[in-house]
């Protein structure tokens, strides 16, 4: 028989306001097994915890029930308290009489009655509790970073810096991500390439980091500390180890009309290409959809010009299997499609562009070699209109826009406007805004400079429509401050398109069993306190895959994710959750039902010899649970027809005891 102590918390007036705590502790005193029952203002306070410790010692308690807030809040606290007093932490049960009682019911009799019932259920459960000790599992000291943009790069560098090997998987032929496409960065206006490419080189030269470019994650199995990952390295038809990146092939390839995705289709590349001069790894890739040799076997020019002999038309996709202890998701973002926003004439005029396209247009390595020329006729635009919040904060247009604020547009638009005015003072620049949001160090100062020093015209209001007319774009917008409708004949219109998570994020989340919000951003384990961890143990979040972010924020989150990974990999063993499934071998049929529902593959079978009830011996197939792999969901316990499989901490008899206590 257990000796149970009951501790009813007032939580100030949070509980005591709606629950007669004295009545609860009195009522529970008479429950079976209860030898001590009390109530106190704040059980979680030091004084409250000491009260519990003293009672455990004084009354030789074998189990305790704390009637307090949600176990999600303080179960861990009280388990530690119990442990400090020499009681097994799993002999603690919490009756949730705050979130699920005092806060949702109004009158004291109702609240008190329910609190007593919840307390009785917890007592009934503790009566059947048994001390549990957690198992341990080893940690593979290697991390996987999915995505090779600035987020992935920074995370990988930081992890490698701590001495752990890291692999980066990037779907594109080069790492660098979106930042490699940018021209200047706010609020300091240093050039993106100047600060990014040294980091890319660091990655390439770091012997702890392996880069799997032009690759994708195909399968993830296992669990924290022990992930088994299959990576598909797509055939690039060039031997990476031999290619010197000289670029001879990319100059001689006769297939010249492939839209260049690095410049967002504003110019063309060859069928064999290196995305940009500072690509890492700097090796060529053949686009199988454009290469004549791969399509119909007619060409072979690149192989002829390659002095190193790196071209390999027979290269196959390769599957790499590797074990990892931690996985960092850094899949980043993309601007949303502007095709559906008819009012801005994006599909009708080449001179209506997105901000990312504008970045390429002003970039010295871009399609116009950095000269600001409009795409339609390569003439210098004299009037430019920037439109903010295109598709952002768009609650009514779920099929084309996003409800959230994309966060980075206000700043990069100020940057664009400023750069234009700086280089081409003869150009008039208008920015239509709803609100200018500039929280961040030196951000508002930056925006004010655009207005005050560079003379950018900020107009509070939205653009209603853009109509191409001759060589001009007729922009009709409202100026809410002047309360007038403004009409501007613009040469170029730049749309600050909302950003959305990369399309690869959703299938990846499924593979990782990591949760996502409705916008396909990864969910963090806690929005405030655990912002870089996914709720799935061992999976961490870096950069815009978790929500819109600018570069400084991405880099700091990348570092935070890295430090979490380092903290995990620094451990030799992980202590598991002791609330796991365990089969009673005497009752196990060996029928495999449990194995089939286990999401972790934690169940295996062995043949064992048993003494049967009729005094014969027999060899029977029985289930075994791998305590490091089992996560304790309990799916097997219901699949098991004989009830041989039970869940520690949530045993059938315990749950039935709770049911009985509630239904008395």
């Amino acid at each position: 028989m257990q000796r149970i102590g009951v501790f009813v918390c007032w939580c100030g007036s949070n509980i005591a306001g709606t629950v007669d705590v004295q009545a609860v502790s009195d009522a529970l005193k008479n429950e079976p097994g209860v030898v001590f029952s009390t109530n106190y203002q704040y059980m979680c306070s030091q004084a409250g915890q000491n009260m519990i410790k003293d009672a455990i010692k004084e009354y030789r308690l074998t189990g305790i029930v704390v009637c307090s807030c949600s176990p999600r809040m303080h179960e861990a606290t009280f388990r530690k308290t119990a442990q400090a007093a020499g009681l097994n932490p799993y002999m603690v049960e919490i009756a949730n009489i705050r979130e699920q009682c005092s806060w949702v019911h109004k009158d004291i009799p109702t609240g008190t009655e329910k609190a007593i019932i919840l307390g009785k259920a917890a007592v009934a459960k503790v009566n059947l509790n048994a001390p549990l000790t957690p198992g341990e599992s080893p940690v593979t000291k290697r991390a996987l970073v999915i995505g090779g943009g600035i987020a992935g790069i920074q995370t990988a560098l930081d992890i490698a810096d701590a001495g752990f090997p890291v692999d980066i998987v990037e779907t594109k032929p080069t790492i660098g991500g979106k930042m490699a496409q940018l021209d200047k960065t706010f609020p300091t206006l240093d050039c993106a390439a100047c600060i990014l490419t040294p980091k890319m080189v660091d990655v390439a030269q770091n012997d702890k980091i392996r880069i799997f470019s032009y690759s994708e994650v195909q399968e993830v199995k296992g669990f924290v500390g022990n992930f088994d990952v299959k990576i598909k390295k797509k055939a690039r038809y060039v031997n990476e180890d031999i290619c010197t990146g000289c670029g001879a092939c990319t100059e001689k390839c006769p297939q010249k009309n492939v839209p260049n995705e690095f410049n967002l289709g504003m110019d063309n590349r060859r069928a064999i290409y290196i995305p940009f001069a500072q690509a890492v790894p700097k090796v060529a890739t053949i686009d199988p959809n454009a290469c004549n040799m791969l399509k119909n076997g007619k060409c072979g020019v690149c192989a002829k010009v390659c002095a190193a002999g790196a071209i390999d038309y027979k290269q196959q996709d390769q599957i790499i299997e590797e074990k990892y202890g931690a996985i960092v998701v850094a899949t980043g973002f993309n601007p949303i499609s502007m095709e559906k926003f008819d009012e801005f004439a994006y599909s009708q005029s080449k001179d209506v562009i997105t901000s990312l396209e504008f970045e390429r247009l002003t970039n010295a390595a871009g399609p116009t070699a950095g000269k600001l020329l409009r795409p339609s006729d390569l003439e210098h635009p004299h009037t430019i209109v920037f439109v903010q919040c295109v598709g952002s904060r768009c609650a009514a247009c779920a099929e084309k826009g996003k409800e959230y604020c994309s966060k980075i547009c206000c700043m990069y638009t100020a940057k664009h406007a400023m750069l234009v005015r700086d280089k081409y003072p003869d150009t008039e620049v208008y920015v239509f805004y709803i609100d200018v949001r500039t929280p961040g160090k030196n951000f508002d100062e930056f925006y004010r400079r655009a207005v005050e020093e560079y003379g950018v015209h900020y107009i509070k209001g939205m653009v209603g429509k853009v109509t191409p007319e001759g060589k001009k774009l007729k922009v009709q917008g409202s100026d809410l401050i002047m309360d007038e409708q403004v009409h501007i004949d613009a040469d170029l219109v730049v749309l600050a398109a909302a950003i959305e998570p990369d399309k690869s994020a959703r299938p990846l989340a499924t593979m990782l069993t990591a949760s996502m919000d409705t916008n396909d951003f990864f969910t963090e384990a806690h929005p405030k306190l655990r912002p870089v961890e996914s709720p799935t143990a061992g999976v961490f979040l870096s950069g815009a895959c978790q929500g819109p972010k600018d570069i400084p924020e991405t880099v700091s989150q990348a570092g935070a994710a890295a430090s979490k990974v380092i903290g995990l990999l620094a451990k030799d063993k992980l202590t598991g959750n002791p609330c796991i499934a365990s089969p009673n071998e005497l009752m196990c049929n060996g029928c495999s039902s449990c194995e089939r529902v286990c999401p972790y593959g934690a169940i295996t079978y062995v043949d064992k010899e048993f003494r049967m009830p009729d005094r014969t011996t027999a060899i029977r197939r029985v289930a075994q649970v791998n305590p490091a792999v089992c996560q304790g969901c309990g799916a097997c316990t219901v699949a098991c027809p004989s009830g041989a499989m039970d869940l520690r901490g949530f045993a059938s008899a315990q749950i039935i005891a709770e049911v009985d206590a509630i239904c008395k």
């Binding site: 949730n96 705050r98 949702v104 069993t513 239904c663």
Partner: protein, 144 residues
Amino acid sequence: MQVNEKKPLIVAFCCNWCSYAGADLAGNNRLAYPADVKIIRVPCSCRVNPMFILRAFQRGADGVIICGCHPGDCHYTSGNYFTRRRMAMLFSMLDYLGIEKERTRVEWVSAAEGAKFAATMNDFAEKVAALGENKRLEDLRCKK
């Protein structure tokens, strides 16, 4: 409503990761629902054995509701998919035996859906109350 009418008794099995947290959120936001609802915490909705449900009814529960993560969002990947099949089969069987189908329910409530939790419980409690006492599955000898 009569003064002495027995209040319905509702047992809610809530998965630890979504629905129990959803219930906590309902509490945090002070969203009221009837005190008739008593929550039992399970790690995952797939831990709920049909035996627990029948036991609750046998002992006098008037309604049993199982709440889990939305399909696809299970903390354990697939637990709630098994719950969905098991409960679909069990509920269909109870209906086949002539038990009022409004007494059982499965609802997917995420940790962010405190309002949905409260609304679900209000609605379920109302429907169960309208049915009156559970006589068909109750074991009279379990009554005090």
